[in-house]
Amino acid sequence: MSNLSRRAWLGMGAAEGSDWVTRSPRELIRDDHFPNVPLITHEGERVRFYDDLIKDKFVTINMVYTSCKLACPLVTANLVRVQDLLKERVGRDLFMYSITIDPKRDTPRVLKRFASAHGVGKGWQFLTGKPDDIEHLRRKLGFRWADPVRDANKDYHTGNLRYGNEPLMLWGTVPGIANPSWVAKCILFVDRSGSGHASRLECCTASS
C-alpha cells in the first residue's frame, strides 16, 4: 500500500484531500450531541433542546426520574445545595437542566411536584418529552454504557452531572453526589468570565 501513488490510492475510493468539509467545531458538537428535540418544562413551557436550552449558554445537565429510590433523590438534594452556592448566577447566566429518563410517568405536573418537594429554585428546569426523543437525547448526551445490561438500568444514568459552556466548546462531568462545594467549583471550570477565574484558583490550592 505504501508504494501506491496518491492518485492510485484515491482511485481506490479514498476521500479526495480537497473534499474535506469546512465545519466549525461548534457545529459538529451540536450535530453530534445536541439534537433540537421538543421538550416540556416542569412549568409546562414548550422548548427546543438546542435552540432554547443549550445555544449560547453555560449549563448543567443531568438525568433523573421521580420514582427513583437510589441516586436521584440524593443527587437532586445535593444539587439544591450546589444551586445555593452558585447563588443568583443560576437563572441569570447559568442554567440547570434535569431531564427525566422516565417520560411516560414523569409528566410536567409530576416533575413540578418533584421540584417543589426538593426546594428547587429558579433557573433550574426539569424536562420531559416524547420517549423516543428522550432516548435519543440520552444517547447523544452520553448518559449510556457499553454494557447493554447496565445501559438498560435507569439507575446507572443518574449519577453524573454534565457541565458545559456551549459557545466556548467546553464540556466536563462531575458526579452529582460529590461535595456540593466541589461540584460548584467544577461547574465554574468552564466559566471563563472574570469571576470564574478567581474561583478556579481558589478551588485547588489547599495543601495543608
Binding site: S2, W9, D147, N160, W171
Partner: protein, 600 residues
C-alpha cells in the same frame, strides 16, 4: 449479567447490536465496506465501535510517514537556557507564576540546569491523507523563542544527581478557540518522578493562560532523605518517564490533544552509551522512544475528534506512534532498545513482532523494564502487554531479520473503552500493525551487551512490616466511577501516609467487565499478590517495580510501598483518562504523622 459475561453469545450479541445501530444510521452495507468499517464477513473492523458518538475515521494509508525520533532529529530534545526572572523557592506571583506552594527541596538540591517549555497550539501533520491538525503541544524554550510545537513534546535528557528546573509556560489559545475540546488550563505531571508534591504536576495545581509554573525535579533516588541518606537507594533507579497534562476533569481531552512527551533519566549504569555501565544500546542512535496513542478523526473534516460525552473509555481506530499514523522505522541488523509507552486514552495493547512472510514464527525479544524501571535481569518474551501509562523497555536483536520487514503488531482484542475483551489474542497478522520496522540499515558495530547475561538492579526489600494496610475498592455503582464509594475532590484528603513508612495497599476491582490501569504517584510499588497468588513472569511480566497496576476484572492485587523523603499531596487514580476525569481518583497526603484509616 454474570451469566452473560462468559457466555459465547456475548460478542455476537454485541456485533449484532453495533450493526443495528449502524443500520439505523442509514448506512448501507456497501457504504460500510467502502469505508472499511465492515469486513466481508459482516463483522465490524476491530478497533471501531459504534458505541462512540463519533463515526469512524476517513481512510488513511499505513506505513508512509517515518517514525519521528531523536535519532533522526525529528523528535526535539530540550536544551538548557537561562530563565529570567531566575526561579525562586517561593512562588513568584508578581512575575506571573501560577504556583502557590513553596519548593520544599529547592535549597537541598539546587538546580544545575534550567529549561523552558511553552504549551501552545500549532499545526501538526499526522498522515499524508489528512489535513494539517491544530493540536496543543510543547515547544522547546520560552514563548519569545517562538519554536514550533511537536507531538509528542520534546524529550528531556536528565541525569541522576543533576537537579533541574523546568519553567512551563501556558500560552494556549483562549477559551472558544480550542477546536472543539480541551481546556486551556494545565498542570504537567512528570510520571512517575520522585518529585516533591508542588512540582509533581498534581491535578489540582493547574495554572491559567499567561502564567508560568516552575517545576523542580531533584532527580534523586528514593531514600535520599531517609533509608539511604545522601545517596538514595540505587535499586530504586528509574529510566523511562513521561510527562503529560493532568488537569483535573480535563486530562483526557488535553492529553489526547497532544500535551505529552518523554523524559529519559540516565545514571552511571544506564548511561546511554553501550560502551559503559550496563552496556545498553546507545542513545539516541539505537535507543528509541515510542509513544502509542489511538485516535479518531472526523470523517467530515478530517480533523482529530474527541467524544466529549463518553463514560466507558474512548477507543480510536487510527494508531499513532510518536504522533504519526502507522509510521515506518528503518533499523540496522543489530540490537536496539525500544521504550514503549501507552499514552491512552483507554486502550490496552499486547505487542508482538510479526513477519507477514512467516506468521507461525515466535519472534522473541527481551523485556528489560516495567514502567521504566530496569528489572533485576532481562526476561525473554514473545509479547508485552501495556495498559494506559504503562511503559516497557525492550531489547530487540534485528540481526536474524536482516533484509526483512517486520511489524509491531497489537494482537489484543478490545471492543470498547472498558478493557480488553476476555484477553482474546488475535492470530498473527490479524491485529493492529502499528509500526513497520524495515531491517535495511547498514551493517554497523554492536557494542551493546548480550541481554541473556545482563544484570541490572536488585529488587528493594519488600518484606518489612507495614505500618498500615489499606484497601481500595474500584467500582461503578449508580453514582459513577468511585474508589471506596466516593469520588474525587481536590480539597478532600482521604488519608495521610506517615513520611518514611511502609504501607500495604489492596486494590479491588468490584464490578463489571472493566479493567482499570491504577496509577499511584511518587513511589514505585512491588506487587505482593494478584488474586491471592504471587505474581509470575510467564507469559507476561508481572513482577518488578511499577507505578501502574493493571487491575483486571474482579481482581484483587496487594501492593507494597515505602513512602519517603518528601511531603505533600499526591493522587491515586485510574489512568483510563476517561475514568479519571469522571472522578475515579482520590487525594492522599504525606505528612510527618500519618493516620491508620484502613478503608479511606
Amino acid at each position: 449479567m454474570h451469566l452473560l459475561k462468559h457466555g459465547p453469545g456475548k460478542r455476537a450479541l454485541k456485533a449484532f447490536d453495533n450493526r443495528q445501530e449502524i443500520i439505523k444510521a442509514g448506512l448501507s452495507r456497501r457504504d460500510l465496506l467502502k469505508l472499511g468499517i465492515l469486513t466481508g464477513a459482516g463483522c465490524l473492523v476491530d478497533g471501531f465501535t459504534s458505541r462512540s458518538a463519533i463515526a469512524g475515521s476517513p481512510p488513511t494509508r499505513a506505513f508512509v510517514d517515518l517514525l519521528p525520533t531523536v535519532r533522526d532529529g525529528t523528535m526535539p530534545v530540550q536544551t538548557a537556557l537561562t530563565l529570567n526572572p531566575a526561579p525562586t523557592a517561593a512562588p513568584n506571583t508578581a512575575a506571573g507564576e501560577g504556583r502557590t506552594i513553596t519548593h520544599q527541596a529547592f535549597n537541598q538540591f539546587p538546580a544545575q540546569k534550567f529549561y523552558g517549555v511553552t504549551q501552545k497550539a500549532g499545526q501538526v501533520l499526522v498522515s499524508p491523507d489528512l489535513p494539517a491538525q491544530t493540536l496543543w503541544g510543547f515547544a522547546v524554550g520560552t514563548p519569545d523563542m517562538n519554536n514550533p510545537i511537536t507531538v509528542p513534546g520534546p524529550l528531556y535528557v536528565a541525569h541522576y544527581g543533576e537537579p533541574i528546573i523546568v519553567r512551563n509556560f501556558n500560552r494556549l489559545p483562549p477559551a472558544g478557540q480550542n477546536g472543539g475540546f480541551g481546556l486551556p488550563s494545565v498542570t504537567t505531571h512528570l510520571h512517575n518522578g520522585h518529585t516533591p508534591s508542588e512540582s509533581d504536576g498534581n491535578p489540582c495545581d493547574f495554572f491559567e493562560i499567561g502564567r508560568f509554573y516552575d517545576q523542580h525535579y531533584p532527580n534523586v533516588l528514593a531514600g535520599i532523605n531517609s533509608t539511604h541518606p545522601g545517596t538514595g537507594d540505587i535499586n530504586e533507579a528509574m529510566s523511562t518517564l513521561w510527562y503529560h497534562d493532568h488537569r483535573v476533569d480535563f486530562t483526557a481531552q488535553n492529553v489526547y490533544k497532544g500535551l505529552a512527551g518523554f523524559y529519559a533519566l540516565f545514571n552511571q549504569f544506564d548511561t546511554g552509551d553501550e560502551l559503559t555501565g550496563f552496556h545498553l544500546p546507545s542513545f539516541p542512535q539505537f535507543d528509541i522512544h515510542m509513544m502509542f496513542a489511538d485516535k479518531v478523526f472526523d470523517s467530515r473534516t478530517g480533523l482529530l475528534a474527541f467524544d466529549l460525552f463518553n463514560l466507558d473509555g474512548i477507543l480510536g481506530d487510527r494508531f499513532t506512534v510518536n504522533g504519526k499514523i502507522q509510521p515506518v522505522l528503518h533499523v540496522s541488523p543489530r540490537r536496539y532498545r525500544f521504550r514503549w509507552l501507552d499514552a491512552g486514552p483507554s486502550r490496552f495493547y499486547q505487542f508482538f513482532l510479526t513477519d507477514l512472510n512467516n506468521l507461525g514464527a515466535h519472534n522473541l525479544f527481551w523485556q528489560i523494564s516495567t514502567d521504566g524501571n530496569l528489572r533485576p535481569t532481562p526476561k525473554q518474551v514473545e509479547s508485552v502487554r501495556i495498559s494506559v501509562a504503562e511503559r516497557a523497555d525492550v531489547i530487540i536483536d534485528f540481526t536474524p531479520f536482516a533484509g526483512k520487514t517486520l511489524y509491531l503488531e497489537n494482537r489484543l482484542q478490545q471492543n470498547d473503552g472498558r478493557g480488553p475483551t476476555d484477553h482474546v489474542i488475535k492470530p498473527a497478522g490479524q491485529g493492529d500493525r502499528v509500526l513497520q520496522i524495515v531491517v535495511d540499515g547498514p551493517q554497523v558495530a554492536d557494542n551493546s551487551g548480550n541481554p541473556a547475561t545482563m544484570k541490572f538492579y536488585s529488587l528493594p526489600d519488600a518484606t518489612a512490616t507495614p505500618r498500615v494496610s489499606r484497601t481500595f475498592v474500584f467500582d461503578n455503582s449508580g453514582p459513577g466511577w468511585q474508589i471506596n464509594g466516593r469520588s474525587f475532590d481536590c480539597n478532600q484528603v482521604r488519608f495521610t501516609v506517615q513520611q518514611n513508612s511502609v504501607e500495604k495497599w489492596t486494590l479491588v476491582n468490584d464490578g463489571g467487565d472493566w479493567e482499570h490501569p491504577i496509577h499511584i504517584h511518587f513511589e514505585e510499588f512491588q506487587t505482593l499478590s494478584i488474586n491471592g497468588r504471587a505474581p509470575t513472569d510467564s507469559p507476561l511480566v508481572n513482577t518488578g517495580r511499577k507505578d501502574v497496576l493493571r487491575l483486571e476484572a474482579d481482581a484483587t492485587a496487594v501492593l507494597f510501598f515505602r513512602f519517603r523523603d518528601f511531603l505533600g499531596k499526591y493522587p491515586l487514580h485510574c489512568h483510563n483518562t476517561v475514568h479519571e476525569d469522571h472522578a475515579m481518583m482520590l487525594r492522599w497526603d504525606i505528612a510527618p504523622v500519618g493516620d491508620t484509616n484502613t478503608t479511606p
